[in-house]
Every structure is written in C-alpha cells, then in structure tokens.
Symmetry: C2
Subunit: 430 residues, 2 copies
C-alpha cells in the first residue's frame, strides 16, 4: 500500500493521483453497443437469442429457452443448503424492514386562499434488474435491487442474468425467489439492456433498469437513459476506514481486505492519527494475507490503488474523507455518531468497531448499491425512493386564481408568452 | 389538430404515431460536443472565452468580461419595472414555501439489538444552473431551478447564461438576484456545461448541473453525467387536457394555445367525452387565434403535433392519460381530486377549471421543470430533493454483530468472498 502524510506539501496532489481513475467512455465499446441496441430494437427476440448464443456460448433455440418462471425460482431455492436458505430470508427481511422506512408518502396542504398544493406518490409500473452472471454473480445484489422495488409497490420486477455456457447459479435464482422477482430471463450484456429498454415480443418494456454490469452493460444503460430510467453507472468499489486506534488492528486489516478482494481496481484506504497504529495494521495484513483464497487479487488491488494516510487528527481525517467522498466509510472511532455529523459526502457510514462493511453488504438493512467514484457528492444509495415517482398536485381556488392570475400575467407578458398570460387572465373575475 | 376516437380500431396505433418523437442522439453533435468538452477540460478559461466569442458573437478579452457579481444582479433588478419586481418576488416566495415541504430530513431508529440504522441527509455543496439565452430566456426558469437548491441548503449556486451578441436580459438577471444565485457567468452551450463539470481557473467545479438547453447542451449534459449529476434531458413540452365539458371552452382553447406557443414541436392534446364540446373548443380556437402574437408557432405546433381525442368516458380518458404520461395534465372536470387518484403517470396534475397550466408555470408553488416524453413513468418534477443526498447510517451493537455476523458469514462464503466472511466473524465473541 502507498503511504501518504497529510503534513506533506505534496499531499493534495498525491491524494488526487491516488483517486484518479480513467472513466472515459470507450468509443469502440460505444459503437458496438449502439449497433446491438439498434438491432434489438429492430429485430426483437431473434436478435437477443443470436447475441446470447454468440456471447454467452449458449445454444438457445428460441426465447422460451431463455425464460425462467416463478416455479423455476422456487425449485432453485429448494435445491440450496438450508443455512443459505435461512441467511437469504434473514437478509431479505432486514432489507425489507429498513427500506419500508424510506417509502415516500403523498402529501397535500391548502394555502390561505383554499388553493390545494401537494405531491402524489406512485410506484413505477415495471422495472428491470440486471444481475451479472459468471464468477461475479452476487445473490446479495439480487436482494438489494429487487427488495426496494418490491417495497415501493412495483407490480412487475423483471430480472435478467446471463448464464455463460448455460450455467445457472442456484443461489442467485433462490435470492430472486426470496426477493419477489416476477420473472427471469437468462440474458445479459447490451442485448439484455436493450430488450428491457425497448421491449421485444417476449420481454416487456420496463420503466427503469438498475443493477451493475461490465463496460458493455454500462454503455448500454447510458445509451438507453431517457427511454427508461437508470440507477447509476457504477465505478470500482471503494472503502475508506478512519481509525482512532481503538479497534483491533486485525479487524481493520480484514475490512480493507474485504474491499480489495472484489477486484484488482477496487480501492481500500486507511486514515489513522498515529504511525504506530498504521504499522500495526500493516503487520496484521502481512499475517492475515496467507489465509486469503483471493490473495492475488487483494495484493494487486492494495498494491495498485490502496493507501495508508497519516492524519494530524480526526477533524483532518473527516475533511479528507469529504474530499474522497467514499462509497463506504468506516468510522472506527469512539463516539462515531459525533464524527458522522462532520461527514458531508459518503455513500454509507459504518459507525463503531462492530460495524464491518461486510455486515452492511449482506444484512444490516441499508442498501449495498452505493455511489462510487466521488459521486456521493450528488447521489444517494439505491432505495425505495428510486422506484417511486412524484406528480405535483395543484388545485387553484377561485380566490387563489385572482391573486395568482395577476402575477402569472405580468411574468408571462415579460416572457412574451401571450397565451400563457391570457389563460391566467380568463380566470380573473370580470 | 388531428382528431382521434378511442372507439376506432386503429386508436392505439394512431396514438403511438401522435406521441412518436425522434430523440435519437445525433452522432455529429455528439462529436462536436466531445471535442469542446475535451478542450475545455484541457485549456480551461482560454477555451471557454474562445468558444463564447465564436458562437455567441461576443468580444470578451478575458474571463472577467464573462463574470457578473451579486452587485450586477442587484443593479439589473433595480432597472426592471416595479410590477415585474413584485411578480418575481411573489413567485419566488410561493415557490420557496412549496419547496420547503419537500425538504428531506435525516432519520434513525434502533432495532431490538440496539443496532442503529438510518439515513443522514446533506445538501450538495455547489450546483450549476444552465439558463438559455436569447429569445427563449425565461426568468421563471431561473426561479424554478435556483429556489429548490437554495431551500435544500446549497451554499453556492452558479448560473450560466449565454448573451448572444453581448445582449443581457435584465429580467433573467433580476430573477437570479431574487432566487439567491451566488454568481453568474455569461457563457452557454457545451463549453459552459464542460466548464461547470470539470472546473476552470475561473469557474468552480460544481456537483450537479440542472436546467434546459438546446441539442448541444443536452449532449454535453449526457456526456458529463457521472462526473457531475444532471437533472434530466428534456424533450418538447406537452399538455394533455381532460375535460368533462364543464369548463368554458375558451379557457381550454387558451390553455392548449399556451402550450403550443412554446415552439413548433410542443404538443397539446385535448380529451373530451362529447363531440359537441370538442367542436366548441375548436370554434373557440378559431376565434381566439387572431389575437395571438405567436399565431404562426401555435398553428404549426397544433397542426403538426396537436390532437383532439373523443373518449367514451372519463375512466377511459384517464387510462389514455396513463399511456401518454403527460408533462402537464389538466383535469378540467368536476371532482378532480377523485379522478387524480386514477392517474399513475404525469409530471404535474392541474385540477379544476381555475387551475390553468400557466398559473403553475409561474407562481402556484410547484416546480415547472417536469418530466417530458413519457419519462413521467420513472421520473419526477425537479425539487428540493434533487439538491439533497443521502448517506446510509449503520452502527451495529455488539449484540447485533453476533446475529448479523452469522448471516453475513454464510452469504459471503456463498459468494466465495472469504475476507468479507472473516471480517464479520472477527466481530463474533470467541
């Protein structure tokens, strides 16, 4: 891991270099994705079947071979070990409970003239959830994407998940069963995104697509944005741990590993206020790395993008965190709730020594789909609110129309919009 | 205006054709915008000054010539007529009052094990507001974009507005003064969007860009999405009026005109339950069109994209509205609140005969930045919530870590993420 010191005159430059990540859109990928999207829009099912067979090494004859029913999901659930069944149910129940508290409710009020104002909240009709296949297939992601939609009241939740070489992941399908997914298509890539966005003979058009994917999926989501809603275009996963030295060094070392094991471009950063504690964590890492099956990935990730930062005090550590805007922030300190108040930008804040990021990843309740790459400056965790929308409500009373009409008329004439002005003036008493 | 009848076997096909609008991204515009963005990112102020002089016909020597201070805005406010000053203040006050009700608040709760869960709400630090210049300069849009940011608690609100041939619109600048804008740069186009997204020597990098613009602005917003947040990519403006025949036909005729006068691609649709009423509105239009300064635009818009639809009853009219997902929906009917409950997709619902869309456009309180082109299926009016974001809060208690740790461990092993499992297991009592 790199070592940075906030006292160094080069600290800000070094920090910027550490966080830099090339996110430029690849024009070649864009072109391939544009062609696939256009083809799926034009030829529907036939195009999706062809691309799926070509890219996923499957041999589907028709779309029916790529379709799973509720019964298929139930059967997958029945096949998995009992302890995983229980864990999926526990996780889903906790995620459901937390997300119920996020649900938006309609509201109205009347002003002094009897004019009613408010907002009507409705769920989306139908959403699509993209779940990556193959090695990076995460059942927990199924729960984290489907459950908020379910809680929001979305009637149809369509999941797509590619099955490279036809291999289905029973735990992923079981998670879909537990999380209330309506239907699953075993398709992926840009062709799956296009099918959900435009609809085909077999795939109903959805209103929004959420869920992570590779560069092709990200490019396709960006392309269909506007035709349907999308969640966000996720970058590499990140953790920032701020430690005051009161948490066992081994715990913090393992928390950093848990981020680094995702992939080589994941980022794990530790800020502490004493060199001695940084050394302790380093020693713990050296001891613990031996027992890690994903050792090579962890070493690559920490070597390329990991860092330990020595800060003067916790105030400075929090300021640095606000610049980093981490996806996951562990405040492994005493009185973490006080320090959390100083945090302006973070996807999720894990407070206190018992709150390892992994508890939040799986089952604490909050969502694990979080803003990455400094986008916590302007975006939020995936939530129930992402599957609801608002309609403004306005019912102007006759009295209200007299007052508002005059103001609207003046402003409309100021914008040379005469019909706007006249429409307001018609409502004035003669 | 076209005429459609829901009883026709071709109705659905005709409706789809009516709503169809080519929104394909133009690869030529994309390329020009990509080049401008890259150049601004590289050369900063100098590039912005060059593009501004070239595209806006200005002769700025340096960035200082493109910068307006609070004093400049105040001076503009002082120069405009008193009735417009008052109208701007009235509008801003009503918009502020409504948007205060939208403000999200932080919340937490404890589960039965003493684990704290919740969400911390924070405002964005700094936002950019794009305001079109020239003929389509709308002071009301300044209020509708800036006020929600102001209410959310955003500290810096940076506005950009092009001034073709150096011509400044005093009412636009006065609206910026009233709505609490921090600073104005007289720049526009892709170069303004790029300057806000990446920052230059003079323009501070913002966290989100909102506001409407032409095709170049839309392409630039789409491109920088991810580096900064954006609101939405707006399409042509639309109104759908559902009338039961109890509203004076002239009022409805003028409401349709008020949408149509925006531009040739705006869309105005009327659904009524009797042919006689449709005929009345048509006759009213023929009478009223003569007094419209923007007659040519209105006729082009209604001719190209306008329609009258005869429906069997109001239930069917509401179902059709849910397919159209209009930006503006007028329920010009008796008991409009009952009918509003049947509406699943609309940007704003204007209820009752006194609620002309224009009252909502200027001063009723709700925002006039609304989802267009059927995107009300998945998106919402611009609001205070667009300038706030959420961070999940989790503080697992020692007791909570015992239960959650087991579930997390099972699921992490199921995903072959050993470090995730070990981090949870470390928190279990030995």
């Amino acid at each position: 891991m790199k070592f940075l010191d906030t006292r160094s005159p080069d600290f800000q430059a070094e920090l910027e270099a550490l966080l830099a990540f090339e996110t430029a859109q690849d024009p070649k990928i864009d072109q391939i994705v544009a062609d696939i999207c256009a083809d799926v829009q034009k030829r529907g099912d036939a195009a999706v079947v062809e691309y799926t067979n070509r890219f996923d090494g499957t041999s589907a004859q028709s779309f029916a071979d790529l379709t799973l029913s509720q019964d298929d999901l139930k059967a997958a659930f029945a096949r998995i070990p009992a302890d995983i069944q229980t864990a999926l149910k526990t996780s889903a129940a906790r995620v459901e409970s937390y997300h119920r508290r996020q649900k938006l409710e309609s509201w109205t009020y009347e002003d002094e003239d009897g004019t009613l104002l408010g907002q009507q909240i409705t769920p989306l009709d139908r959403v699509g959830i993209y779940v990556p296949g193959g090695k990076a297939a995460y059942p927990s992601s199924v729960i984290m994407n489907a459950m908020p939609a379910h809680v929001a009241g979305v009637k149809e939740i369509i999941m797509v998940v590619p099955t490279p070489k036809g291999e289905r992941n029973d735990i992923v399908l079981a998670a879909a069963f537990v999380a209330g997914v309506t239907k699953v298509f075993t398709i992926g890539g840009a062709q799956a995104v296009a099918a959900l966005a435009y609809g085909t003979e077999s795939v109903p058009q959805v209103d929004k697509i959420t869920g992570p994917g590779n560069a092709f999926v990200a490019a396709a989501k960006r392309r269909v944005f506007g035709v349907v809603g999308i969640d966000m275009v996720a970058g590499p996963s990140e953790i920032l741990v701020i430690a005051d030295g009161t948490t066992p060094a081994e715990w913090v070392a393992m928390d950093l590993f848990s981020q680094a094991e995702h992939d080589e471009i994941a980022q794990a950063i530790l800020i502490a206020t004493s060199q001695a504690y940084l050394d302790e964590v380093k020693a713990a890492q050296e001891k613990l790395i031996a027992e890690m099956p994903r050792r090579a990935i962890i070493e690559a990730s920490l070597g390329n993008r990991g860092a330990m930062i020595l800060a003067k005090d916790l105030d400075e550590a929090c300021e640095t965190a606000n610049y980093i805007c981490p996806e996951h922030l562990e405040l492994s300190v005493e009185n973490p709730q006080e320090w959390a108040k100083k945090i302006r930008h973070a996807g999720a804040i894990f407070m206190g020594r018992y709150t390892s990021e992994s508890l939040g990843d799986y089952c604490a309740g909050p969502n694990h789909v979080l803003p990455t790459s400094r986008t916590a400056r302007f975006s939020s965790p995936l939530g129930t609110y992402d599957f609801q929308k608002r309609s403004s409500l306005i019912q102007v009373s006759e009295a209200g129309a007299q007052k508002l009409g005059k103001t609207a008329s003046v402003l409309a004439h100021g914008e040379s919009l005469t019909a706007h002005a006249r429409a307001a003036e018609f409502r004035l008493k003669k």
